[in-house]
C-alpha cells in the first residue's frame, strides 16, 4: 500500500446500493427480461424503441402503451473491440461493445458480444443473446450476445481393419525378403509390379510371381515442395521408376541425390532398410538412389 503518508485510498459507495424506481416503461422492459423476453415500446410515430424509453427522444411525447416483443436475435450495426476488459465489464475476456439492432426494433441496443476475436464481427453479423442463469429483472439478465451459429464441426471417422491378402500378400512377403515380385500376363506378356492376380489389360489370370531386380530407370518425377510426414525433407522427389524387366513403373521416393540433380532416364537402385528392421511393408524401401550408371535414353 502507499508508502507516502499523504496518499490515501477513498471509496465512495452508498451502502447497499442506490434504488432506482423504474417507472412503468422501463419496469415492463426489465420484467420481460426476467422472463427472457425482450420488448420495445412503440412511439406515437410508430417506431419501436429498444430498450424502451418513457418519452420519445425525437418528439418529447410520451410513448404509447404498446409493447412489442423483438429479437431475440439481431444484427450488429457497429462495434468497438475491447482487448483488455476492466473489472466492471460484463466479460473477463476480450469482447466487443456493439450496437445491436434486434429483429423488429427501430433502434439499436448497446450490449457486449463474445466473439473471440474482432475478425469474427462486422456490421451485419447476426447475434443471439446468451441469458444469465438466474434472471432478476436487470439488463445483465442478458449476459452477453454471441454470433449466430453458421457452421458446426462433424467429426466423421471410419475405422477399417485392412487385411493384405492374395496378390498383395505375396508381394509384401517378397518385400520383406528384400525382393520385388512381379507377374507376367500369359496373354499380353506384360510384366506387372507389384504382383497382381489378373492383367488390367486382358483380364486374364497372371500365373506365379517372378522376381524382379531392384534396379530401374526414372521415367519421370515431381519435385515436391510441400512437406509430407513420410518424406525425409523438403523438397523431396517422387518418381516413376520402371524396374528392369517390368512394363509398368512404380511410384517411389528418390534419395541420396539433390532434388534438382534428378533426371528423367536416371538409373537407380532400391535402398533397403537393414535386414533386422524389415517388415512386410513398402517402408522396407527407404528410397531409390542413383547407381551412377549412364542415363537411359527415353523414347
Amino acid at each position: 500500500m502507499p508508502s507516502d503518508p499523504l496518499l490515501a485510498q477513498h471509496v465512495l459507495e452508498f451502502p447497499g446500493g442506490y434504488t432506482r424506481t423504474t417507472g412503468p416503461v422501463v419496469g415492463r422492459f426489465l420484467s420481460e427480461l426476467r422472463g427472457r423476453r425482450i420488448v420495445g415500446v412503440r412511439t406515437k410515430e410508430g417506431k419501436v424503441l429498444v430498450p424502451p424509453l418513457e418519452y420519445d427522444p425525437a418528439s418529447g411525447e410520451p410513448v404509447t402503451d404498446e409493447y412489442v416483443e423483438v429479437g431475440p436475435a439481431g444484427t450488429v450495426t457497429t462495434f468497438a473491440w475491447v482487448d483488455e476488459p476492466l473489472a466492471g465489464h460484463p466479460l473477463d475476456r476480450p469482447f466487443a461493445w456493439a450496437l445491436i439492432k434486434l429483429d423488429g426494433a427501430g433502434t439499436a441496443l448497446v450490449h457486449a458480444v463474445d466473439a473471440g476475436n474482432p475478425k469474427a464481427l462486422a456490421a451485419g453479423t447476426r447475434v443471439w443473446p446468451a441469458w444469465s442463469d438466474h434472471p432478476t429483472g436487470h439488463i445483465t439478465d442478458i449476459s452477453h450476445f454471441v454470433p449466430e451459429v453458421t457452421k458446426i464441426v462433424a467429426n466423421v471417422r471410419a475405422e477399417y481393419r485392412l487385411q493384405a491378402g492374395g496378390a498383395l500378400r505375396v508381394f509384401l512377403e517378397g518385400v520383406e525378403r528384400g525382393v520385388f515380385l512381379g507377374g507376367r500376363c500369359g496373354t499380353c506378356e506384360k510384366v506387372y509390379v507389384p504382383y497382381r492376380a489378373s492383367c488390367p489389360e486382358c483380364g486374364n489370370a497372371i500365373p506365379d510371381p517372378i522376381e524382379l531386380p531392384d534396379t530401374g530407370t526414372i521415367t519421370t518425377f515431381a519435385i515436391n515442395n510441400l512437406p509430407d510426414p513420410r518424406a525425409p525433407q523438403v523438397p523431396f522427389v517422387s518418381a516413376y521408376i520402371l524396374l528392369d524387366h517390368a512394363d509398368i513403373p512404380m511410384i517411389a521416393l528418390v534419395g541420396d541425390v539433390p532434388a534438382h540433380e534428378v533426371r528423367q532416364g536416371m538409373r537407380v537402385r532400391a535402398v533397403w532398410v537393414p535386414e533386422g528392421e524389415r517388415t512386410a511393408s513398402m517402408a522396407n524401401v527407404r528410397w531409390f538412389a542413383p547407381t551412377g550408371e549412364p542415363d537411359v535414353e527415353l523414347s
Binding site: L162, A164, F221, N224, N225, A231, P235, S238, I251, A252
Partner: protein, 382 residues
C-alpha cells in the same frame, strides 16, 4: 438413332472460396432455380434429376443425393447420382442427356456441385492406405510428373504454362461467376509464385471453390427458350495402372474425342469448333489436351498456345470463361465446361461470348486422367 436433346436452362452460383451463408442443399438449389428460371420452368416441369459430385470424402457427407432430393424438387421422381472423379460434372450431363436421347424422359434437371471449404481436397485425395508407400500428395503431386514428361517429349519451352495461367485468368475477369479475379495478372506474377509440385507453380494450379452448376435438358418437343442442341456425347475410361498406358496423352481421351467428333460430323476440330471449354486444372494441360483432342499434332500443342490461337480473340478460344484454373468446385467443374459450351452457342455468355459461336466442345477428365466425358453442342439442330 437417338432422340434430339437440348440444353434449355443454365444456372450457376458465383464460385468462391467459402460459401458460409448456405448449406450444401442451399447451394445446389440456388443453381437449380437459376437453371429453371433460364428455361422458364419450375420443379414441377422436371421428370427426373441427376446429381453429380466428386468423392464423398470431400465433404464427408455420404450418399449426398439422398439428402438433396428435397432441395432439388425430386420427391416422387427418379433421382440418380453419378461419380467419375473430376470428370463427374461432364458425366452427369451425359447421363442426363441419355435419359432424353433414349426417350425415357422429356425434361431432366442435371446438377453438380462441390463445397470444398467443408474440408480439404488434398487431404481427401491423399489418404495413404496401409501397405502402400505412395508419395503422391494431392492432384498436383499426381499430375506433375506427367506434365514433366510432356515437356520432355514435346520440347515445349518452360513459359508455356505461364501463358495459359495468365490467359485463363484474364478471361475470368469477364465472367461474373468466376472465382479467381486477379486484375493485372501477367507472366511475371505467375513466375514469381512458388513451385508447389515442380514443374507446377502456385498460379498454374486451380483454386478450391464452393459452387454448383445446373442444366435443364429437354427433348425436342418440350423445348422452351433458347436451346443449345446436343450434337454428340461420349464417355471413355481406362485403368489407372496398365502397362504401356500413355499418361501424357491417354488413349481413352483420344477415343472419346474421336467418338464425339464422329457423331457431330467433325473432321477438323480446330476449324469446325468455334469455342472449347476444356478441363485444364493445371495450366500445362492446355497444350496437352490440344494434342489429345486433335486440335494440334502430337508435340505441337504448345505452339498453338504460344501463338495466341486459344485466347479469347484467337481463332479457337479455349476456356473463354476462365476455365477450371479460375473456378474449381471439383464436382461441378466438368458440368461448368458443358454449361459454358451451351451458353456460347446460345449466344448467352455475356462479356466472354465468342462472336458467332455455333459449335462448342465441352470436356471433362478425372481420376488419374482415366475418365473422359465430352459433348459437342450447336446452335442448329443436328
Amino acid at each position: 438413332m437417338a432422340n434430339r436433346c437440348a440444353v434449355i436452362g443454365v444456372g450457376q452460383t458465383h464460385y468462391t472460396t467459402k460459401r458460409r451463408d448456405v448449406s450444401i442443399a442451399g447451394l445446389v438449389r440456388e443453381s437449380a432455380l437459376r437453371a429453371l428460371d433460364d428455361a422458364g420452368l419450375s420443379f414441377a416441369d422436371i421428370d427426373a434429376v441427376v446429381v453429380g459430385k466428386a468423392p464423398d470424402l470431400f465433404e464427408g457427407v455420404m450418399m449426398p443425393e439422398a439428402y438433396l432430393a428435397d432441395a432439388l424438387g425430386a420427391a416422387g421422381k427418379p433421382m440418380t447420382r453419378v461419380h467419375t472423379a473430376g470428370s463427374v460434372g461432364g458425366s452427369t450431363a451425359l447421363v442426363g442427356a441419355s435419359l432424353i436421347q433414349g426417350g425415357v424422359h422429356d425434361r431432366v434437371l442435371v446438377v453438380a456441385y462441390e463445397k470444398q471449404s467443408e474440408s480439404n481436397a488434398t487431404w481427401a485425395l491423399s489418404t495413404h492406405l496401409p501397405f502402400s508407400a505412395s508419395l503422391v500428395v494431392g492432384a498436383g503431386g499426381y499430375f506433375a510428373p506427367h506434365i514433366r514428361e510432356y515437356m520432355r517429349r514435346s520440347g515445349a519451352p518452360g513459359h508455356i504454362g505461364t501463358l495459359v495461367a495468365v490467359k485463363d485468368r484474364l478471361n475470368a475477369l469477364k465472367n461474373p461467376y468466376a472465382h479467381l479475379k486477379i486484375p493485372g495478372i501477367d507472366q511475371k506474377m505467375v513466375e514469381s509464385t512458388p513451385m508447389l509440385w515442380e514443374p507446377i507453380r502456385y498460379l498454374e494450379t486451380c483454386p478450391s471453390s464452393d459452387g454448383a452448376c445446373a442444366l435443364v435438358l429437354s427433348s425436342e418437343s418440350k423445348v422452351t427458350g433458347t436451346p443449345a442442341w446436343v450434337h454428340g456425347t461420349a464417355m471413355r475410361s481406362e485403368p489407372i495402372f496398365r502397362a504401356g498406358r500413355d499418361t501424357v496423352s491417354p488413349q481413352a481421351g483420344k477415343d472419346c474425342a474421336a467418338d464425339v467428333y464422329r457423331q457431330a460430323g467433325i473432321a477438323d476440330p480446330r476449324r469446325q469448333i468455334d469455342v472449347a471449354e476444356v478441363y485444364v486444372p493445371f495450366s500445362w494441360y492446355e497444350p496437352m489436351w490440344l494434342e489429345n483432342l486433335g486440335f494440334a499434332a502430337e508435340g505441337e500443342g504448345w505452339k498453338l498456345t504460344e501463338s495466341g490461337a486459344t485466347a479469347l480473340d484467337g481463332d479457337i478460344p479455349w476456356n473463354a470463361s476462365g476455365g477450371v484454373l479460375s473456378s474449381n468446385p471439383i464436382g461441378a467443374s466438368g458440368l461448368i465446361r458443358f454449361a459454358e459450351a451451351a451458353l456460347q452457342v446460345r449466344g448467352m455468355a455475356g462479356d466472354h461470348q465468342v462472336d458467332g459461336a455455333r459449335t462448342a466442345l465441352g470436356h471433362a477428365y478425372g481420376g488419374g486422367a482415366q475418365f473422359f466425358a465430352m459433348w459437342i453442342v450447336g446452335r442448329e439442330k443436328p
